[in-house]
Symmetry: C2
């Protein structure tokens, strides 16, 4: 889709912008923002990335509370950004609205599903942007586009007025070019940390061996300095393997349980409406419809145990560290098979926070062949603000503003 | 030292027994016990394993509260057991009182310093016995003699009326042939668990790679079934490395900081009295006296960080699993150099709980060339009772009464 003069990368959805001035003088005053086009803004159609969704849902009557919070805090809304159709995909492709250009690597995918928000931030069109993250939809485009991103603890940020994909996994996250801005938005949107035990703050740092081995060697190497910076703050990282059953097993359980939930959430509308989907999305919803209930139940059962395992491991303040994505953004035009292979390797890692509802921040601390890769720091639910403060310190230690 | 008819392994200190009947009908009624000869029993000399200590201290005026607790709970005291001189050694050798025979492997050391208590329990002379553990003095003889043993959280059990070696490391522990008896004694001596956060109980299980690699291959193999039994209760163990700086570094910091404390505690008496010490003990106190204050300070500084690291890692209920000792008991008569090598490999592991004040239970779940080795389960301070309950379940799963 052709870029407009004030949208150099095609980040915004085509058509009239949903633009609103923020309150004067709030904590986000002076910051411009955008929101993924699955958050309602009163008077505008929410497309959820799909024209048939927009047509069948019409103009939103109310603004999502999270957007209202941003406006009340002084941020100016500059528009709504592109998303993979129904947020069900990680490349960032959208055949209806056009795939945004990744400003950090124009020959590569921007990552999705929050592709427009990530590219709008990376291109400097706005200071921060809201996305949503069910299975990686903030973390992956942040890693691919070289910006900061957060997937907060599940349930920490209000998702009323936002389209759902898998409600027990969905989170409202955001992107920023500066760690300090990422943290400032957190001061507005996040509840006060509820971290329980010990009063230890954060630490120790746990280097998740499974995820580092899963990453391609160049990505792992590129993030070594970032890991060292985190170690400078939290002490030498302890190597740990989180998934003796294999990351592929995590992905499989996530995929099955989440697909069942996606179909339960969106299948009714799909069956009633018979929407047209672009390639990839169509096949994934077909697979979701056909999901074996036994596999989905096994996924849900695994999830319960895995969540307990992770939450107790992190209850005292431990922080996981691993490459957000196992590789930089794949190049545009790779085959669907190659995309699927990347997806599997990626979601074995994103499933860690996804299954357990953990807080994850990704920091743009590496480059591979010129393309960005992110380092993730992950904490137990309820430590989002501490985690953002840690991200600011790590970014400073790495010489980022 | 010649065994007497009712002391088949030479576990008790020579001379008249400190024997006292317990109260009728308490929770430990019907159980016979012994206490390491560093706990005071009114009217008896506490030798601390060294004749000069006994001579210079004379008859104890009061009974240690922990011993009184056992008597009031109904246990019968059968006598006081041998200890390495001033509890400063891990082989269990005592040239003055005679080294007790390891009933499970008579050609091997019993382990120390609580050698008499471990062998009295292993030989069936008593149902349980008190020891003390500063750097491994319950855990190692328990592993070597094939009995259950606990080193409780630091500070959990009253050490008044017990001779000190390193007060910030010293703990009162005990031995039993049955996990259920180990736990029953805990119900009497331990405070109610103070475990904080989350309400998760225990888990996940963390397989401490450093310690498994540090163990000889036969020991690691022999404990595989025990680990699997624990996994059956807590789920698949996550592999973790606790000491990227190396277990040898842990040992070195422990050794330096603890030696300084040992000299601060006992140096005055040694200088005033000029006691005769057996081989090994003499050299260790000479080294303690000569300890470089800079090294001791570095050890103390490391300890603070390591303790925070371990406590936050375990705050949510995680349980460490590793071989208690890296090998079965060394054979009697090996050289002092060989003993020192075993000591170094052993104390790199025992230092984990020692430095961080953790609760550790050792279970007699393996045999190597016929000699016992123990599996340790280790939890955050304040979870001693939960840990004992877990040990009972693991023992049951392994077919032990």
């Amino acid at each position: 889709m052709a870029a407009t003069p004030d949208d150099s990368v095609g980040a915004f959805i085509p058509g009239p912008r949903a633009a609103l001035a923020g309150a004067a003088g709030g904590p986000l005053a002076g910051l411009g923002c955008a929101v993924k086009d699955l958050f309602d803004v009163a008077g505008h159609v929410t497309t959820y990335g799909n024209p048939d969704w927009g047509r069948s849902h019409g103009v939103a009557a109310a603004t999502a509370p999270v957007v209202t919070s941003l406006l009340q805090a002084g941020a100016d809304l500059k528009g709504k950004t592109k998303t993979v159709e129904l947020a069900y995909g990680l490349t960032g492709e959208n055949v209806w609205h056009g795939t945004p250009i990744n400003p950090a690597a124009p020959d590569r995918f921007p990552g999705g599903s929050s592709c427009g928000s990530a590219t709008a931030v990376a291109a400097g069109l706005v200071d921060f942007a809201l996305g949503s993250d069910t299975g990686g939809s903030v973390r992956i485009p942040a890693s691919y586009c070289g910006v900061f991103g957060i997937r907060p603890s599940w349930g920490a940020v209000n998702l009323a007025g936002a389209c759902a994909l898998g409600p027990s996994y969905d989170t409202c996250g955001w992107f920023a070019r500066e760690a300090a801005v990422l943290a400032r938005v957190g001061q507005v949107l996040l509840p006060v940390d509820t971290c329980g035990g010990g009063g230890f703050g954060l630490g120790p740092l746990l280097k998740v061996g499974d995820a580092w081995i899963n990453a391609d060697p160049g990505t792992a190497r590129a993030l070594g300095a970032g890991l060292a910076a985190a170690e400078g703050l939290l002490g030498r990282a302890l190597p740990v393997e989180l998934a003796p059953e294999g990351l592929a097993t995590l992905y499989e359980h996530f995929r099955c349980a989440q697909a069942e939930e996606a179909w339960a959430t969106l299948g009714g509308w799909i069956e009633r409406t018979g929407p047209e989907f672009g390639p990839g999305v169509k096949e994934r919803f077909a697979a979701a419809k056909a999901m074996d209930p036994g596999k989905a139940a096994a996924g849900r059962a695994f999830r319960r145990l895995f969540a307990v395992r992770m939450r107790s491991l992190l209850a005292g303040g431990a922080v996981l560290a691993y490459p957000t994505s196992p590789n930089p953004a794949p190049r545009l035009g790779i085959s669907l098979e190659a995309q699927n292979a990347v997806r599997e390797a990626t979601m074995g890692v994103t499933a860690i926070a996804g299954l357990a509802g953990l807080a994850e921040v990704t920091l743009p601390l590496g480059r591979v062949e010129g393309a960005p890769v992110g380092l993730s720091l992950v904490a137990a639910p309820g430590r989002d603000r501490l985690l953002l403060a840690l991200a600011v310190q790590v970014a400073q230690a790495m010489g980022l503003a």
